[in-house]
Every structure is written in C-alpha cells, then in structure tokens.
C-alpha cells in the first residue's frame, strides 16, 4: 500500500490528467522497500533449506554458523529419489529405508488431481446455488456448511476411517480421496463469495433469452469466474498435495502411498531423536517442485484482467 506524502504537487502539468511525478515516487519507493523486505523474509528460509539439503546431516551441527552447505554432497537428494544404497544413507545420517520416489509421485498426482477436480466442480455447483438461487433453507444450509470448517479433525478422522474401511476402500485412491471429493467448506465458501460479486444483469439477460440455470452456469458464470476458480484449484491442489495424516491412515500400501507419507521417513524416527535434516529438506524441496511447475502453467490465468469491464 503506497503512502503518499502530503506536500502539494509543485510540478506544473500541461495536460489535465497526468500522474504527478514527485509524490508517488517516494511512495512507490517505500512500497518497493516493503515488498523487497517481504521477499527476503519469505525466501531466506528456502535458501536455508537448500543449503541444508546440500549438506551432510552429520556435519550440520558442527558448522551451524556457516551460510554455505557443510560437507557439500548430493547424498540427500539421492536418498529422497531412492538412488542411494542403505550403507551410503546411514553413513550420511539417513535411515536406509527404501524410497520408490516415482511411484509415490504418481500417487500424489492422482490423488491431488482427483481431489481438486471433484472439490472445485461440486463446490462450484453448490456455491452457485447459494449465491444466486433462492430457495427455502438456503442461508441455514450455507451456515451449516461453513461450520464444517470448525469440526475438529479428531471427530472426523476416526469415523471416516471406519467408514472407508467398511466400504472396502482402504488402500485405494478412492478411499483416500472420498471424504473431500464431494465437498469442502472452503471451496463452497470461497466460490460463493465470488459468485455474489458477479453482476446479475448478464444472467438475467441470458435467462430472458430462454437459457436454463445449468446453461447459465456453465456458459456464463464459470467462464467469468476463471480467476477465482483457478485460484481455488491451485490452493486446493496444494492442500491436497501436502495432506499427511489422512493418507497415512488410509493409503499404506506401496501402490497408493503418496509422497508426503513416504517422505515422513525423514522425520524423527525415534523418541527424542533428530530428523535426517538434509534428507528432510531435500524431500521438501523436491515435493514442492511439481506444484511450482503447475503454477508456472496456471499462474497467468490467476489474473483475469478483463474483469467485468465489458458489461456495458
């Protein structure tokens, strides 16, 4: 947020509308400083993760004040990608258990994609009903949906686990994905707030022309909401990608185990023990890469600069 000084503009302007140069320059500078500071604080821990990932776990403590990797080695990345032997792993402070990286990656992709697609799709449908349609009990049901945000996971994890087991869906993709596939309070809430902001005239015009609700939804609302939908998809994808507790319970077998569960290996193994720091950092960085790739593709769509200016 730019801060403007209160000194009157003394630069004479010839045209009626031209941005005065002196005042905003100072404000812009301040804004840039704020932004730069934010970036440094945001990014420094990542540098730290990288530095740790390229180090030898066992040498980390002794060289704690060095800003560079200690005992530079790619061993951590090898452990994460499953390329390292047990002996090498243990020598560097790892645990030596095997990691089938590519399988876990595939599983994470399937789970996250399915989960996101379902949540966004069904969430959008419900959000539209809450935002634009009027029907008895609408606001009460919506509030009920929101309160689902507050239900503590200890309430839901155990019963859902038993349900999935009773349905025979343990150790399947569907079992992992099912509880959040049809609805999450966040996706419904998020999209409903955006749909509220869409001007009614367009819909009304279309309906006057004879379009039904579904048509209006798919041909008008959704395209106009490309930015929020993309944002929601990205955030949902990330959340699903990083989900740990539920896939740990439901998806144990190798064929459905997701990356986060597999990489839990690098956390503390024994009571009062230390994690395999280098392995953990390498695992985190590698796990974050696919999302960065997606962001690179999807990012431009996060901006819908067309907005609604084309109404009239």
């Amino acid at each position: 947020m730019a801060v403007t000084s209160t000194a009157p503009d003394t630069v004479p302007t010839t045209s009626t509308y031209r941005e005065p140069r002196r005042r905003p320059a100072f404000g812009r500078l301040l804004a840039w400083v704020f932004m730069a500071l934010g970036l440094v604080v945001t990014l420094f821990p990542f540098y730290w993760m990288l530095r740790t990932a390229l180090s030898n776990t066992r040498a980390l403590a002794a060289n704690a004040d060095s800003l560079l990797p200690t005992g530079f080695t790619l061993g951590a990345f090898e452990r994460v990608l499953g390329l390292s032997t047990t002996a090498e792993a243990i020598a560097q402070g790892g645990s030596g258990a095997s990691v089938n990286f590519w399988i876990y990656l595939r599983n994470s992709v399937v789970v996250a994609t399915t989960s996101t697609a379902g949540q966004v799709f069904f969430g959008a449908l419900a959000a539209y009903a809450f935002a634009r349609l009027s029907w008895p009990g609408r606001d009460k049901l919506f509030f009920a949906f929101i309160t689902a945000l507050m239900i503590p996971p200890i309430f839901t994890i155990l019963p859902n686990f038993i349900l999935i087991k009773d349905l025979g869906l343990l150790d399947t993709y569907l079992g992992i994905v099912l509880p959040t596939l049809l609805m999450t309070p966040f996706s419904v809430f998020f999209l409903r707030q955006f749909f509220l902001g869409i001007p009614r005239e367009i819909e009304e015009a279309a309906m006057i022309d004879g379009a039904g609700r579904f048509r209006v939804f798919f041909t008008i609302i959704v395209p106009m909401s490309a930015a929020p939908i993309t944002t929601l998809s990205l955030l949902t994808y990330i959340t699903s990608w990083n989900d740990y507790l539920w896939p740990l319970l439901v998806g144990k077998s190798e064929s459905v185990r997701v990356l986060t569960v597999a990489l839990g290996l690098f956390r503390s193994q024994t009571p009062q023990g230390s994690p395999d720091w280098a392995g953990l950092m390498a695992a985190t960085l590698i796990a974050a890469l696919p999302i960065l790739v997606i962001y690179a593709f999807v990012g431009p769509r996060l901006i819908n600069s067309i907005g609604f200016s084309g109404i009239k």
């Binding site: 929101i146 200890i154 609805m183 930015a227 955030l235 985190t284 990012g299």
Partner: protein
Amino acid sequence: MTTITSRLRVRGQTRPPRSRPRSDLRAAAMFVLPATIGFVVFYLWPALRGVYYSFTDFSVLSPAEWVGTDNYETLIQDDLVRNAFGVTLQYVLINIGAQTVLAMGLAVLMHRLTKSMAVRGALLLPYLVANVVVALTWFWMLDYQIGIVNQGLDWVGIDRVAFFGDSAWAIPTIAMINVWRHVGYTALLIFAGLQTIPPHLYEAAALDGSGEVRTFFKITLPLLRPVLAMVLVITVTGSFQIFDTVAVTTAGGPVNATRVIYYYIYDLAFTRYEFGYASALSVVLFVVLASVAFAQIKLLRAGESDLA
C-alpha cells in the same frame, strides 16, 4: 468518491435478492445435492457422533459409557482449559492481526505495484511447504545455540533470544512462523478479490484526484467486503486450530505457556485416551468458533456484495 460508489449502487441494485417471487428449489436441489451428500456423510455425521461421545466416558478402545454432563462439569473447573483458551486467544490475535494486515498490503502491492509472476510465485512459496516442515525449519533457524537468526543477533551485538523457551516469546514466535507460512496464501485470496473490482473505478478515482490511500479506504476495502469476510472467517477458524507447529517445537511448554486448545484436545484423545472429555472440549471449541464466525459474517454483511 461517494459519487462513484453511489452511482454504482444505483446501477447495480435492481431489487433486493430475497424477494424473488419464484423459488428455484428444483434447480437448487440439483446443484447442491452432491456437496450436501458429502457434507452429511463426512462432516455432519461424524460431528454428531462426536457430540454423542462428549456425553460419555470413552477411552477409544473400549465401548463408550454414558456419563451425562460430567465431562462438561469437569471442563468448567479445569484450569488447563482456561489456560488453553487464553493462550489460544493470544495466539489468534497476534497471528490474525499480523497476517491480515500484511496480506492486505501484499495483495494491494501485487495488484497495483507489480504484475510480476515471479513475485507472486515467490510469495506463495511458503504455502507449498507442509506445516510440519515449516515448523522444523524455523525451529532450526531460531535455535538458541545453532540457529542462524540467533547467530545473526550475535554478530550485530544483541543478546540471543530463547524464542521457544521464554514464555514471553513462545506464542509470538509460533504466531509469526504461521504468519510466514500463510501470508502469501491469504494475500492470494485477497488478490483474487481485488481482481473483481472493475478497473474503471480506479481510473475514475484517479481522475477525481484521489490518492492511493484514499482510494484504498473508499473503494477497495468496501468492495472487497465479501471476500474479506470469507478470508477472516477462514483464517480465524484455522488459527484457533493451531496444532502442528506447537507439537513440533514446544510441545505445549514451557509450563503450559503454549498449550493451545487443540494441542490439549489431541493430548487428551491420543495420549491419555480420554476421548469423551476431549470430545466435550471440542464441542465447546466448535461452539466458540461458530459464534465467532456468525458474528463476523453478520458484522461484515458477507451475504451481500456492493458490486452486484
């Protein structure tokens, strides 16, 4: 400024949303059905079961025994519960306060200062890392002896700080760690909301000679209301449920200074197997959160939008 928004209001509102003569019930049913099924099966039913358990003595591995309101009575007298709510409230205020202000600032900057994809990506990066790993990384960086932050303080000549061990620092430290992780995400949500504000409003404002600050308070903020309300409800709710960071760093210490409500609930449920009591506490937490959310929604009038 008022002329612009009042012009908008006159144009935008043809009639208030509720007095539509025909009900869209049939269409609505189709739209809402899948989500409602998901809600009932995976959220509502477990929640109702949880409420049931709160009236029982349930040690998870044996059948539950009905004890009526015993758990709630114990709850009222339990010092740790009071402590937990106090600590959690402190945490929420610091966390949400800092996070919302910073996120708002960042969102506006992303919107008005720079359209760089790289900057946006960089700000979102912390959210890509799992909560537990964020906690571990910051734990390492803030370590008293070997953390780089304390090393830095040393180099500059300031005394080292026991970020997690000193009761005065523990909660603020945990709060700021979570701000670090979530500020980009929150900024992105707000930014998405900023997208929906028609640019011609800003042009008109600039034309009328309004500075950045004035435009922000008179145009941006009011029009952002539905999205802001949602962001606040979600972040406040999530903030009350802080757990991972505490579990990894302080484990509720020192001497309960960071024993937040959710940590206490988890401890009761999975370490002490007092699931009935934990359920009662969860129900209380739920009621508190629901009331807060309800208040937020009403106060911010999240059900309307000045744009439509």
